[in-house]
Point group: C2
Chain length 332, copies 2
């Protein structure tokens, strides 16, 4: 800076300008919650490559498709999947209308708060819980029930609302991709209509960009007008090999970037990255026992084993929550 004689007013302005420099730098960084390092660099390099017109890796805007798993990739999935917590709470809320549940598994265990009892009821028990809590109502009624629950339900371990139990660095990636004309989708094993009521407000992703597991719907005309009834029958499981199927079904285009955290995302990552052109596959690795949870190969929830082994060979980047993320959760 050249030394010039200034009056006090212009000195104050110059001093003010200096004060604002860091803020200006922060605003220029699309990923402020990420530490500098290989993961952040991989994201920035990828976006730069596919958006540079005339470059070898340029991808036109309409083909910039990015997919994100939800549980464990965008929000906390421990100690139990949020949707299971919803189902258990719903059983409790519905119990007064079902006195027989006091003596019938798996409801008896749910009402007693006995999670190991619920687990002991196995897949069949879980299906019964999902059936009574997720079907037999209209799509509008289910939307209202989910919306009311998600507005107040908290993670028992973190104490945060589930919609605040989200990974700020990943939301920054979503925003960064959207700012670069990507179409961003959630591709989750979770229920499509369990996610749609809150994803726009929470992640900036609208209902039509949410892909998930679904049950059959049935169109019925009632005295109050037409409704879509939620039937107790699986329509589609959007997990594992179902993820590329769901992507093709809903989008009809192959993603160029995919983000997951578990073996359920293996095929989505494989489908995304095993194709010509520049591709990005990333895995959120839960290795921060202090700020979040540390789990991978041996976890019942969000098991990451096969995809962890395949990552180096497939060129998938591991995101270390511990090392790569300056901040994990939104500032309260």
């Amino acid at each position: 800076m050249n030394m010039v004689k200034v009056n006090s007013a212009s000195a104050a302005i110059a001093f003010g300008a200096l004060l604002f420099v860091p803020a200006a730098f922060a605003a220029d960084d699309p990923l402020p919650s990420w530490n500098d390092g290989a993961s952040k660099q991989a994201i920035v390099d990828f976006v730069t490559a596919v958006t540079t017109e005339g470059g070898a890796d340029f991808v036109p805007a309409g083909d910039r498709i990015a997919t994100f798993d939800n549980d464990g990739t965008l929000w906390v999935e421990q100690p139990i999947y949020v949707q299971l917590a919803f189902a258990l709470d719903e059983v409790k809320a519905m119990a007064p209308q079902h006195p027989e549940w006091k003596d019938t598994e798996p409801f008896k265990s749910v009402l007693a708060g006995d999670i190991s009892g619920v687990a002991a009821s196995g897949k069949e028990g879980l299906e019964k819980i999902i059936a009574v809590t997720h079907s037999g109502m209209t799509t509008d009624q289910f939307d209202q029930t989910v919306s009311a629950w998600i507005a107040t339900a908290k993670n028992p371990k973190t104490g945060r609302l589930h919609t605040e139990d989200i990974y700020t660095p990943m939301v920054e990636v979503i925003d960064y991709l959207k700012a670069n004309d990507f179409d961003v989708y959630i591709v989750s094993g979770g229920g499509i209509e369990f996610m749609r009521p809150w994803t726009l407000k929470t992640y900036g992703i609208p209902p039509e960009n949410v892909i998930g597991s679904s049950i059959k719907l049935k169109y019925e005309v009632t005295d109050a007008g037409p409704v879509l009834m939620r039937e107790p029958e699986i329509d589609f499981i959007d997990d594992g090999p179902g993820k590329p199927v769901g992507i093709q079904k809903f989008i009809g285009k192959r993603p160029i970037a995919a983000f997951g955290n578990s073996d359920g995302d293996f095929q989505m990552l494989q489908w995304t990255t095993n194709a010509p052109g520049k591709r990005l596959g990333m895995i959120v690795h839960h290795d921060d026992a202090v700020r979040e949870f540390a789990y991978d190969r041996d976890s019942h929830i969000g098991k990451l084993d096969k995809a962890l082994d395949a990552a180096p060979k497939e060129g998938w980047h591991l995101i270390s929550m511990k090392d790569d993320w300056k901040q994990i959760f939104p500032t309260p």
Copy 2:
């Protein structure tokens, strides 16, 4: 106009300005192929109402969902559905690899060009034709086959390419809605992957905004990399009561405007218009035997009977191709 003394240069400019007036008017009219009348007025009034901020009928941009049937609503469906023409042509193209078809129905009739023989083979015959022509290949291969076929296939009655056998007035409605921040979807009984290869270029509607009938897909990893195989099993029929189901499944929002032409669109129209707020339901009525085809209640293709009866009571507007459309097809 005031009479003023002008030099010849400014007179030429003024004369030029007069010449350009009609062009300027045309540019301001979002629906130039429509005759003035109740149908055009209904569209303009609806769009004005839902986009007027502060107005009683205002709908925010993200909730402005409009759905269009395809066959008979956006393009010609006579003398046979375009997708059936594709399937029949594919049988002929595949015949050299299937010498047994010469003696097996329904293929024998297809190869002999005997449409009544094909019809006589019934639903079972049609399913066989669809199975061999629509499954057993990857999604990429099917995309390529459809793209190659649609580039040259013509309607035997109109002599036009199918992608030029489209209704210009309806494309104007799509453009008009998009210009007013509507999200526009095709919701067709036709195959989703039969439509996606050409809808962007033909109607300006991208693959992810195409909803249709589908067969099951299966993710497989081959030596050449992962593929999605098209399986010979129905996944979803997007017709009749399936249309509201498909809309909810793919979009997760209820349309505020719907356009159809047959009884297969009845439930989509019903679902769209039987809800609070300003709604628009319109039916393209094929009543122009001279410029297109005239058919409704008694047609095997695009049968319009129940929805024609219901239209006045439901407030659905009938679009008369004969009276409402100045021009039907694109200018060659």
